[in-house]
């Protein structure tokens, strides 16, 4: 039967070339000097020290993390009750609601984000409504608010669906048992439902934080040209400044931050749910 494994080799070669080699190139470029030839690499840590010694880049890194954390927190706060309500609805209704939430995500992210530009602008519909109450016009476009709103809008469906999946899998008899043992509804929720849905929250956090920290078109479309996050710096280094070594180093720093934050979330998950199984 082993002869069937021959079928894997073409893809293995493809994956080594198309997946592994580009990743190794990022590592190589991050640790070498700018403008080197093909054969004479000069290894250096300059790209990293350039990043960490420049207050401008540190400010960008701080802002990116801040925006991503705020986005993730809002997604949990709004996404959890939404997922809970969908999971508790009648089967027919919850199936429809899941479809209603999935449907927009199938439409191009840029197209949907672009529409927020018109909604948020100073003579857009939100300011129109505010002006009826005598408020405004409030400047919303090209602020952190717009960027966070754009990120929450784009990424919250992932959070809702992850939490919904973990809640939908939950055995209802646990709640009956909790009630029989004298827990009131709030206690049953805090002691039974919430801990069981932690794996869903954790995978939701992963699915929101990762794209939020690396996104560059949301800050560009909603934050304006002056609003720079770490993704925009990487884009600039590659497509405008042409400093691939520095760009590679920054994306490596970003990847390491993401890995660390994933480990931290996983650790917290394990503390809350020691026998969570994941």
């Amino acid at each position: 039967m082993k002869r069937f494994s021959v079928l894997v080799y073409p893809y293995l070669i493809w994956a080594l070339v198309m997946i592994a080699v580009p990743m190794l190139m990022i590592l190589l470029y991050a640790f070498t000097k700018d403008g080197n030839g093909v054969r004479d690499f000069i290894f250096t840590l300059d790209n990293f020290s350039k990043f960490f010694s420049d207050p401008v880049f540190l400010e960008v890194l701080k802002r990116s993390l801040y925006i991503a954390v705020v986005t993730t927190v809002i997604c949990v706060i709004l996404g959890y009750p939404a997922a809970y309500l969908i999971a508790k609805a009648k089967p027919r209704a919850s199936a429809t609601l899941v479809l209603a939430i999935t449907l927009p995500t199938w439409i191009n992210m840029l197209v949907r984000t672009y529409a927020w530009r018109s909604i948020l602008q100073s003579n857009g519909i939100i300011n129109h409504i505010l002006s009826m109450f005598g408020i405004g016009p409030v400047k919303m476009l090209e602020t952190s608010f717009a960027v966070i709103l754009g990120m929450v809008y784009n990424f919250i469906p992932f959070m809702i669906l992850q939490i919904y999946n973990s809640l939908a899998k939950m055995d209802e008899s646990y709640l009956t048992a909790a009630a029989d043992l004298g827990a009131n509804k709030v206690q049953a929720f805090l002691k039974v439902t919430l801990p069981l849905s932690v794996p869903g929250i954790v995978s939701g956090i992963t699915l929101v934080f990762l794209p939020a920290v690396s996104s560059f078109f949301i800050p560009k479309l909603l934050g304006g040209g002056q609003y720079v996050l770490i993704g925009n710096v990487i884009e600039n280094q590659f497509l405008t400044a042409g400093n691939w070594n520095f760009g590679s180093a920054i994306s490596l720093i970003m990847a390491i931050i993401i890995i660390i934050s994933m480990q931290v979330t996983r650790y917290i998950d394990n503390r809350i749910n020691p026998e969570g199984g994941n």
Partner: protein, 266 residues
């Protein structure tokens, strides 16, 4: 009494959430029919933006590239993914682990990291950036998802199935095409659907590896965003209608199919 209030509050919350999700979509559709260039005041019904869209060479070419790349990437990655998955199900653990580790890289990495890796790779081997590089990149990030959606189906197959087919005189090729593939067809179809939507919607990776005027819809929206151009709304509306129609069909056909089956059984 308080339970009733809670129920209403919940309902209001869900309605507000849905409004939040659909507001930009409604906005896009409504303003695609606006007779003026304004994106804040609706001044009358007109189809002028649709007319402009059809006459705009950039827009039509972006639609052409998006669709043709998505179709090619889907066909290639579905075939490659299916063959690889079948091979993996019959191969040693070490090979499975290596392929899994490689496949995890584009799935776990932020798109921008994958994108710059590919950009540097394509430059290093001096390929001309354009249709080919975008297609290669799309196949690269689609195949792992095809494999992921087929593997569970293969795992639930009876391991003796292939032996039986071979004992009964099938060539290995026939055994795969006639016996294995029909059994895992739902996995193959969902893999193909995932590939198509991922390729169709991709922005970040395409944006970094494209060149020579090959722009997909996402890249066009991104580069046009500086100027107000309601033709984008017209194009988006067509995409929204198309995707909604496809999604509704995909969700309704199985229901109708079930009903017909039940009726036939009666």
């Amino acid at each position: 009494m308080s339970a009733k209030i809670a129920k209403h509050l919940g309902r209001v919350f869900l309605i507000l959430m849905l409004l939040f999700f659909y507001l930009p979509i409604i906005y896009t559709v409504v303003f695609s029919f606006n007779s003026s260039k304004s994106l804040s005041h609706f001044e009358g019904f007109s189809l002028q933006w649709y007319d402009r869209m059809i006459k705009s060479h950039d827009m039509l070419s972006s639609v052409f590239y998006t669709v043709s790349i998505a179709v090619c990437a889907t066909i290639i990655s579905t075939i490659v993914g299916t063959i690889t998955a079948i091979g993996l199900s019959k191969s040693r653990k070490i090979l499975r682990t290596v392929v899994k580790q490689l496949d995890d890289l584009p799935i776990m990495n932020p798109d921008i990291v994958t994108a710059i890796g590919l950009l540097m790779f394509f430059s290093a081997i001096a390929v001309k950036k354009g249709f080919m590089t975008v297609l290669l990149a799309h196949v690269m990030f689609c195949v792992p998802y095809v494999i992921l959606s087929i593997m569970p189906k293969l795992r639930s197959l009876d391991p003796n199935l292939l032996d039986a087919a071979l004992d009964l005189g099938c060539t290995p090729m026939q055994a795969i095409v006639r016996v294995i593939v029909p059994q895992i067809s739902t996995g193959i179809i969902s893999g193909a659907l995932i590939s198509f939507t991922m390729s169709f919607d991709d922005f970040v990776i395409s944006y970094f590896v494209t060149g020579n005027g090959v722009n997909n819809i996402s890249i066009m929206v991104y580069t046009m965003a500086k100027r107000i151009n309601p033709s984008i709304n017209a194009l988006s509306t067509l995409i929204i209608i198309l995707i909604t129609a496809v999604l509704i069909l995909v969700n309704i056909i199985p229901v109708i199919g079930d009903r017909m089956m039940k009726r036939r059984k009666k």
